[in-house]
């Protein structure tokens, strides 16, 4: 405001003179194009370098660094004439859409119940509903086999009651159900963070005119959170295309193959890894992403329509559910929690403390701490736990800072650079972690200035930042979008620079979202597994990738113990983050 007072411009001045008199402090040109260009440019390099490498690799006949590599379409010819590819593509599509059909409605419903109503036990629920996200899907699937697999303890119990097991998790419907339920938290996080910020006056108005709670949620709340629902749906479609653990554990034994397990097969199918074929499948995944992003942009073109957080009165009041409503809502959540948290975590917990399980095995006779004792004897595993904590807690915080910078660069930016931003953000998420990790490994190996970083945690951090980009950025953007333009405009008209507007207006408003974003990114980094497989080395082990390499030999005792540790770690981290977050809210 002081700038405003100083700038009455009493004397007519030439433009040049004005620029001289009021240097950088004055908001002369009224945009932050340099900042935007630099940030989006750097991000584009970080994303497009590995992606470009993959595209380039797809047009070669061997590894790009091999002297035998020749330019050509051979790799495409192989993939596009392979019957198994089309089979995998079809299965993947069914899997993804099935998963979204389950995850989005459930996630939206959960978000509504927890953020907009007076449902009981909210604090606890907020943590519990996120639990399925804590575990990498590979371990989640594994937890289900221990509890509800053909000889799981729940299956055996049910069989004892009714004589047979009425489900089969080793089938496509079984996989879709499990994947759908486990992706509910992803939807919940997006939708709840925008619901939390909605002013409640509209809902209250609807309630006072006699609308039922379901009518309110459908006709008032739903339209206002539509952007986050669309974000969540398109992201989950991509996640479905990228899912690896669930198809690997549950689909593989019976030959149900999706694109990621098809890629995985290409690493061994020909004896030596066929990078060019993996790259072709990756390019196919990229080509599937582009129309998705395009459709998303088209749907969200008029972002102003969704602005909900005005300059005042943004306090949230909750809707009353009433006694019956409480019972119904809590039962729905309770059942979902039982299926998607208790069953898999129960399976993992049981597995972590026993060596044998299944038909005819008395679990209580098997109880042991040996799995953890063995784990603590191996330095690389202990180091993996420490590294993972550092990467997720510190790295997660730094990542939120980076995403915020990128988010601001794209904020109220309608130029070509923003179009670019929208496309590059989702690209890495469309690629299987294994492939993007491999590409980053090559980037850090072959780009001269980066080579010293390869044996450090920084290389893994960079890859994680890029892989987590879509989550983190969309989360921040969703919050940034809800800051009403009037607020920023009024700051600008009083003479604040864009930088100052961001610092004094935008960031303080979105600050509650930052702690939540940190928690989210922390979880994402904790559960990440495929990305680090090629990047980690002695000294830079991370839990998730250790589990993948252990899976090759099948050291399930260690894997179960590691996954339980990672669940506990994340739970503790999240509880802490929520405490911090809660303080900021009040």
């Amino acid at each position: 405001m002081s700038t405003h007072a100083q700038a009455p411009a009493a004397l007519p001045m030439t433009k040049a003179a004005a620029e001289k008199k009021y240097p950088a402090k004055m908001p002369r040109h009224g945009n932050a194009s340099v900042y935007r260009t630099v940030v989006i440019g750097l991000l584009a390099i970080a994303v497009l370098a590995p992606v470009g490498l993959i595209i380039y690799q797809s047009f070669l006949s061997a590894a790009f660094f091999s002297p035998r590599a020749k330019f050509g379409l051979d790799a495409y010819r192989y993939v596009f004439t392979d019957r198994n590819f089309y089979k995998a593509l079809g299965t993947t599509a069914v899997f993804s859409f099935g998963m979204v059909a389950i995850a989005v409605p459930l996630g939206g419903l959960l978000a509504f119940l927890i953020t907009r109503t007076d449902i009981k036990g909210k604090r606890l629920l907020e943590i519990l509903v996120l639990v399925p996200m804590f575990i990498s899907s590979i371990v989640l699937a594994f937890g289900y086999t221990v509890s509800v697999g053909p000889t799981g303890f729940v299956s055996l119990f049910i069989r004892g009651l009714i004589g047979f097991v009425p489900w089969n998790i080793y089938s496509l419907p079984g996989m879709i159900l499990i994947a759908g339920l486990s992706h509910v938290p992803h939807v919940y996080l997006y939708v709840s963070s925008s619901m939390r910020n909605l002013p409640s006056d509209l809902e209250e108005a609807a309630r006072t005119t006699g609308a039922s709670i379901w009518q309110v949620s459908r006709d008032v709340t739903l339209p206002m959170v539509l952007p986050s629902l669309i974000f969540a749906a398109s992201l989950n479609i991509l996640l479905g295309f990228e899912t690896f653990g669930i198809p690997l554990v549950l689909g593989d034994p019976n030959g149900i193959m999706v694109l990621t397990t098809y890629i995985y097969k290409l690493t061994t199918l020909f004896g030596t890894p066929t990078y060019q074929l993996m790259a072709v499948v990756a390019v196919v995944l990229i080509l599937i992403t582009l129309p998705l992003v395009w459709a998303q942009r088209k749907l969200l073109k008029n972002a102003r329509k969704y602005v909900a957080m005005g300059g005042k009165g943004a306090r949230v009041a909750t809707l009353k559910l009433g006694r019956g409503g409480q019972v119904i809502a809590l039962s729905i959540i309770g059942f979902w929690l039982f299926v998607s948290v208790v069953l898999p975590i129960g399976g993992i917990t049981v597995r972590a403390f026993v060596d044998a399980w299944g038909e005819g095995v008395n679990l209580f006779a098997q109880l042991t701490f040996a799995n953890f004792d063995h784990l603590l004897e191996v330095p690389s595993l202990v180091r993996g736990i420490i590294n993972t904590v550092i990467l997720s807690v510190v790295g997660g915080a730094v990542a939120v800072g980076i995403y915020l910078m990128v988010g601001l660069a794209g904020h109220r930016n309608w130029g070509a650079s923003n179009t670019l931003l929208d496309y590059i953000v989702l690209l890495p998420r469309a690629l299987p972690g294994l492939v993007i990790g491999l590409a980053f490994f090559w980037v850090f190996l072959f780009v001269p200035l980066l080579t010293p970083l390869r044996p450090t945690l920084i290389s893994i951090f960079v890859a994680y930042v890029v892989v987590g980009l879509s989550y983190g950025l969309r989360l921040l953007q969703g919050t940034l979008l809800q800051v009403a333009p009037e607020l920023e405009e009024s700051a600008r008209t009083t003479g604040a620079t864009i930088g100052r507007t961001w610092k004094d207006v935008v960031i303080p408003i979105v600050r509650p979202g930052l702690a939540g974003a940190w928690a989210l990114i922390m979880i994402i980094f904790l559960r990440e597994y495929a990305t680090g497989v090629y990047l980690m080395g002695a000294g830079t082990e991370v839990i998730g990738s250790l589990m993948v390499s252990l899976l090759q030999t099948g050291a399930m005792n260690t894997i179960a113990a590691l996954s339980l540790i990672s669940v506990v770690l994340t739970g503790a981290g999240l509880a802490l983050a929520l405490r911090l977050g809660a303080k900021i809210h009040d």
Partner: protein
């Protein structure tokens, strides 16, 4: 470091005979050439050795600890899996950023490919004479273990006396018990697992009746997995009754702790693979690499590996199992896969694709 000076120094020390005990000559194991002290000295100067491997750290922890205690050389242990190790080695060589000193992997074919493509450095280990002839290849590739391929079964569902004695019996067993075994037989997926491919293709090479076995498994609705551990999990739980062609050395360890798991071998035919070690070309710590490979092959190192559940290729090792006691344990039919160009047969892509097509046809998929 001037190697010549060190060499002559070493020679001088040797000349002085037993009475002149230098601080570092003490470390030279019995039977090693006198100038080995110079290698040890140089290795200690290098201070660290970087291992790229597919062996879980837990299995080799004793070996690692003893090596570091003995020589004061730190080990950077990279458990990357077979493909990961291969990929990193060729990528690093292409970028002129070699960081691996020793590659130690169970993928015999990939290890031999590294040798053939010039990624390995020749090194005549003084321990080579203590290994069986089949376990070494041209002073460049060394077999460090002998790990049998066998079956595991659920002891609640099957008893030892019901199990097939020979390879041919196994085929009959699968055919005769089709009803009970339907959907409860597990084996390796040769498409997804390098080990699985090696096991199956080696059988196909040595057993004319392998395809009958494949067909019998297909008729039983066999389920295919990408790791031995994954199969163990399903057999322990009773989801599968028997798993065929899994890594038997792991299984011999598992049965100690799992009450309802049994391990079984065909008395007439038990193939065995070996974890192979090589020193990389352009290794940043070439001397430490040599000392590590020698230690791994030494009686001490082999004992430590055998204790960790990886049977020794040396007959003079008494800890755990060695090649001789292992042969007794599996019923006398142990047939180690020789470390030679033979392992490359299916690296030829046409042959490989043909094998996999035959495999799928036999399984009826």
């Amino acid at each position: 470091m001037n190697t010549k000076t060190v060499r002559s120094l070493a020679a001088a020390t040797a000349l002085l005979g037993f009475s002149a005990v230098s601080a570092w000559a003490q470390d030279v194991p019995a039977g090693y050439p006198a100038d080995y002290a110079a290698i040890i000295e140089a290795a200690k100067k290098e201070g660290t050795v970087s291992i790229y491997t597919s062996t879980d750290a837990a299995q080799s922890q004793k070996l690692q600890d003893a090596f570091t205690a003995k020589y004061g050389i730190k080990i950077a242990y990279n458990d990357l899996g077979t493909n990961g190790a291969y990929n990193q080695v060729i990528s690093e060589a292409a970028a002129s950023q070699v960081t691996a000193d020793v590659v130690w992997s169970s993928a015999m074919d990939l290890q031999m490919t590294l040798v053939q493509d010039g990624y390995a450095e020749e090194y005549a280990s003084p321990e080579a004479a203590n290994l069986p002839a089949w376990a070494t290849y041209k002073n460049i590739l060394y077999g460090t273990t002998v790990e049998p391929i066998g079956m595991i079964y659920n002891t609640k569902a099957l008893t030892e006396d019901k199990l097939p004695k020979t390879y041919a019996d196994l085929i009959t067993f699968l055919k005769d018990n089709k009803g009970e075994l339907q959907g409860k037989v597990a084996t390796f997926d040769p498409e997804k697992s390098g080990s699985g491919f090696l096991n199956h293709s080696n059988d196909a090479k040595n057993r004319p009746d392998f395809w009958d076995l494949a067909k019998a498994m297909g008729d039983d609705g066999v389920k295919i997995y990408s790791s031995s551990g994954g199969m163990k999990e399903t057999v322990v739980s009773g989801e599968n009754v028997i798993a065929i062609n899994i890594i038997g050395s792991y299984a011999l360890d598992w049965i100690k702790e799992s009450p309802n798991l049994g391990v079984h071998f065909a008395t007439d035919y038990t193939p065995a693979f070996s974890r192979l070690a090589l020193v990389t070309k352009g290794a940043p710590h070439p001397n430490a690499a040599k000392v590590f490979v020698d230690f791994m092959l030494s009686k001490e190192g082999q004992s430590l590996l055998a204790e960790g559940g990886l049977p020794s290729v040396r007959e003079d090792v008494s800890a755990g199992l060695n090649i001789k006691t292992l042969n007794e344990r599996v019923g006398g039919g142990l047939k180690p896969i020789a470390v030679d160009e033979g392992v490359l047969e299916y690296m030829d892509q046409m042959k490989r694709v043909q094998f996999l097509n035959d495999w799928k046809a036999a399984l009826g998929r």
